[in-house]
Symmetry: C2
Subunit: 226 residues, 2 copies
């Protein structure tokens, strides 16, 4: 076992660029210069271009024929659409997890909730984001549907820069924590509908949060690059 733990440069490059993208290192419309990046990573253009293909297929960047690879932040409408799908995927995970979650998973989930709250108390937002991410990933796994878990994780990753931006608005974190606890309670009661509804609510962009997102969106996305 433990196959394909590739020493392939292309894979490494892919991960590094992916990281750069989801941490919002590139501006909207920015072109990723092949030769510059290849130089920067100390490799040739070949593995870099392979990484581009992979990233493009995942939707993290856009390839335009004979023009290059571009970062294309979703416009506001598409961002809302993506969160809408994310909300349903999370709801689906929660629904299934409520029936299938085991004790070990419940302990893990409970622990991340506490770690989140501790991070908030300390004002350690990096740690909060990490634990929050873990919470959601544990939930995906607990769904018992490995394909669903992968797809959810994929979209979750793709939304990373915008979720971060969204949570920045104050007053959101305590509410978010209450929802985490509500999810936990629903799982404990094996209540699929409650788990699904809570998670849909937790992720969806509705009411006040719609305005929050719209406001913060302006601060990030529209800075067009040369």
């Amino acid at each position: 076992m433990m196959r394909s733990m590739g020493t392939r440069i292309a894979d490494t490059i892919r991960e590094r660029i992916e990281q750069m993208i989801v941490t919002g290192e590139f501006a909207d419309g920015e072109r990723l210069d092949e030769v510059k990046l290849a130089e920067q990573f100390g490799v040739s253009r070949t593995p870099l271009r392979e990484a581009f293909q992979s990233l493009a297929a995942s939707g993290l960047l856009t390839l335009e024929a004979r023009r290059g690879a571009f970062i294309r932040h979703p416009d506001f409408v598409e961002l809302v659409e993506m969160f809408e799908v994310m909300a349903e995927l999370e709801a689906m995970c929660g629904f299934r997890a409520a029936r299938r979650v085991n004790e070990q998973q419940m302990r893990d989930i409970g622990r991340t909730i506490e770690a989140c709250e501790a991070a908030i108390a300390r004002g350690d937002s990096d740690e909060y984001y990490r634990e929050n991410e873990t919470f959601h990933h544990l939930l995906y796994e607990a769904s018992g549907n490995s394909f669903l878990a992968r797809e959810a994780a994929r979209l979750h990753k793709r939304l990373k820069p915008y979720r971060r931006m969204q949570l920045r608005v104050n007053g959101r974190m305590p509410q978010s924590m209450r929802e985490h606890r509500a999810v936990y309670a629903a799982l404990e009661k094996s209540d699929p509908k409650a788990a699904a509804a809570t998670l849909r609510q937790h992720v969806a962009i509705q009411g006040e949060r719609f305005n929050d997102l719209m406001a913060s969106y302006r601060q990030i996305a529209p800075r067009k690059a040369g």
Copy 2:
């Protein structure tokens, strides 16, 4: 406009291999020989490998470091998982379409239903598959969520070989057509819940269909390649 209608060989290759995969041209576990395929397509390995990266990211094949590109049919469990997600995505599309579908779209959807029935009457199964596919794609579009539509289409494509296999079992087509009509009726009544429920039912692998799928699965997937 009309950008990126790439004259890129890599894109062409990608589509051709994708087509070969979804039409079930490769056996499970089969390795895609780079030089052989390159020769076959009359190109070098470079665009071929880029196509591989793209296909791998879409889940249509698996890359193993220093071993090559392999066709890995989902095992039975994963296949059921995938249909489970597909069912939810379709339900989601139907739910939204019930509120948002316009008259032109209703006409188009109605037309594909009739074309499907005509194809069945003629015993033209190829035409049936084509129109059935159109029906579902129209539904995705009618959801009004373009991101959702793309994701649904993506998974739909990935499931293509297995859906085909699944529908082959006799007695299924008339039932399938009744469900299409039920979806149409729900859209006409602007009844989101009915549309969602019908589509979930239409796609989900449950009851009798579970056995049908399992039986036919054995005929396709397990033929391991050298």
